[in-house]
Every structure is written in C-alpha cells, then in structure tokens.
C-alpha cells in the first residue's frame, strides 16, 4: 500500500478563559475532525488548555522571509511610535 503523508495542521491553544489562543505546534491528520482529536491527544495531555483551534498549514498566509527588510525594518527607527515619552503618573499600575 502506498504511504501518503497526511496534511499538516497548526495547533493553537487557549490556556485559560480570557487569554488568547497561542501557537503550540503542528501535527498531521487526514481531515479537520481528526486534526482536532489529534491536537487534544498530542498537546493537551497535561491540562494545557481550555480551547483548541486547528487550521491547515497551507491555508495560512505568511509573510515572506526574504522580504523582512521591506516589511519590518522601516518600523525600527521610528521610536516616536512607542509610548516612551510620557511620564507615568504616580499610582498607575498597569499601563
């Protein structure tokens, strides 16, 4: 029997209510339902999460590594975009 690789899926886990889903890793599965089951069995064995997303890796649109300079470097010398020029009033804890 010929061995055909199952498609790759990316797994995202929400570790607790209120936090956003974070990328946890990837896995192979024959279809979407199996991907969800496999994600549960592979990535949440030690109570890592309360919610799971899976998405086929080839459906993700990613930025091109060779274009990093055009994509991200222009932001590096624009320090005025960071809110670092303000004095934080006393008593404000989370800003």
């Amino acid at each position: 029997m010929s061995k055909q690789e199952w498609p790759l899926y990316e797994v995202f886990i929400r570790s607790k209510a209120g936090l956003s889903h974070r990328h946890a890793g990837s896995l192979h599965a024959a279809d979407d339902q199996m991907a969800l089951s496999n994600a549960r069995d592979t990535y949440t064995r030690r109570s890592e999460g309360v919610s799971l997303w899976v998405v086929r890796s080839d459906r993700i649109v990613a930025s091109d590594p060779t274009e990093t300079s055009a994509f991200f470097e222009p932001a590096e010398d624009k320090i005025y975009r960071h809110p670092t020029f303000y004095e934080i009033p006393e008593g404000v804890e989370n800003l």
Partner: protein, 252 residues
C-alpha cells in the same frame, strides 16, 4: 453470596475489564501507524490503568484483607480473572483493535452512566470520573470506524471483517448472571437489558454512518465473566505478570 461479596465480585469484574483492555492496548505502544494515533492510544491505555487501580483499591478496601492492587493484578491466575472475552482478544490489525474498542466502549459508556446512580459511593465516584475519559475514547473510535468503513473499498472490506469477527463476543456484555442480578437488586445496579437497547441503537447508528452492515444474529461466546477464558489469555497474563512472578514484590 452476601451483599458484600456481590459488591467485591462486581468491582473486580470492572477492574479486570479495565486492566486487560489496557494490557492489550499497551501491546500497541510503538506499533501504531501514525505518531498522533500512537499518543492517543497510549493516553487511552493510561486512562484504563488509572481506572483499574482505583477499582482494585476499592475492592481491596471492601475485602479488608489488605490485598493491594498489585496483588490483584499480578498474583491471580487465569481462572480468577473475570473480564469480558472481547477484551482479551488479540489486537490483530488496526481495524480489529479499533472495532474491539468501539464495541466495548459503546457498552461501557452506558454501564458507567448507570453505575453513577448505584448505591455504592465508591463505585459511583469512580464511574463519574471514568465516564469523561470513555466519552472521549468513544468519539475517537466512532470517527475512525466511519473513516474506515466509508473510506476505500479495501478499508471497508477489512473493517467489515473485523466487525463480523468481533460480534460473537458482544453477547456476553448483556448476559446477566447471579452477580449481575444481585448487584442490580441490592445496589441499584445497571439493568443490562436496558443497556443492550441503548448499545444497539448507538452501534447501529455509527455502523450505518460508516456504510457497514450489522452482523446477523448469531451464537454468542461467553464465559469470561465466570473465569473461563479463551486460549489467548494465558499468553497475555504471562507477559503482564512476568516481572512480579519472577521477582515478587519488586519495586523501583
């Protein structure tokens, strides 16, 4: 048989089911066709070992002679084990093991549901914990059955054969003997006839979805619950008990 003895015997049957199925599943560790399936199977086997441990401890406490879970698991002989014949059957190929899992868990799910309502608090608590695990296993194996049945011509043919072969072991799950009857009467235990109807309904639904055919009514093998096992069982025990038999009470 006193009510206490009934409860101990009934608890040991449940424990033996969990342990022997776990042992068969453990034989598949490092032999699954895909890494993800490998992890799922090992997780499920560990769920069953957890259940077996709780059940043996409970039986040990009820018995009151200080027998430990290890003594129940590793120091009893073939005829003292009371697991269902279905669970000791060899793994065969992926479809065979899957069908065994599916047919048993479709039953076990309803059994646990009924056990939550039984009057023994220990069993009720163990059942409430186990049912969450088994619900997930059941979903997993039902999905696989549909995938294989409604898959290719080849997978369909093979899994139909697995279903036909395993079918003769399913009757035993619903054939109540004295212990089942006494447990139902004295401890508000499961009604096996009602569970058979639920099981039939669930199995039929998934089998139909998988475009497979339910096997015909046929002669059913039984005896596991009374300690009469198939020829495979001695080999299973030999492997499982080897260490404790060779080095009694070895620890590490």
């Amino acid at each position: 048989m006193s009510a206490d003895q009934t409860l101990i015997a009934y608890t040991l049957r449940l424990a033996d089911n969990a342990l022997i199925l776990a042992q068969r599943m453990i034989e598949l560790v490092a032999a699954e066709p895909e890494l993800e399936e490998e992890l799922a199977n090992a997780n499920f086997a560990l769920d069953y070992i957890g259940q077996a441990r709780m059940l043996y401890s409970h039986a040990g406490e009820l018995e009151g002679n200080g027998r430990s879970e290890d003594e129940f698991a590793f120091m009893r002989d073939e005829h003292e084990f009371r697991n269902l014949l279905l669970l000791e059957q060899p793994n065969g190929h992926f479809g065979d093991a899957l069908v065994r899992q599916f047919l048993f868990e479709a039953f076990y799910l309803h059994l646990l549901e009924a056990l939550i309502a039984c009057s023994d608090q220990g069993l009720s608590e163990i059942a409430a914990r186990a049912i969450k695990e088994v619900k997930y296993h059941n979903r997993h194996s039902a999905q696989w059955l549909v995938r294989l049945g409604d898959g290719t011509e080849f997978s369909r043919e093979r899994v139909q054969a697995s279903l036909d072969n395993a079918w003769r072991y399913t009757g035993e799950m619903f054939t109540g003997d004295d212990i089942d009857v006494a447990f139902q009467r004295d401890f508000d235990g499961p009604n096996l006839n009602a569970i058979r109807d639920l099981w039939k309904r669930d199995v039929e639904r998934t089998v139909t979805e998988a475009t497979l055919r339910l096997p015909d009514e046929q002669w059913m093998v039984s005896g596991g619950k009374q300690g009469q096992h198939s020829e495979h069982f001695g080999f299973l025990l030999a492997e499982m008990q080897y260490l404790q038999r060779s080095f009694p009470s070895a620890t590490w």
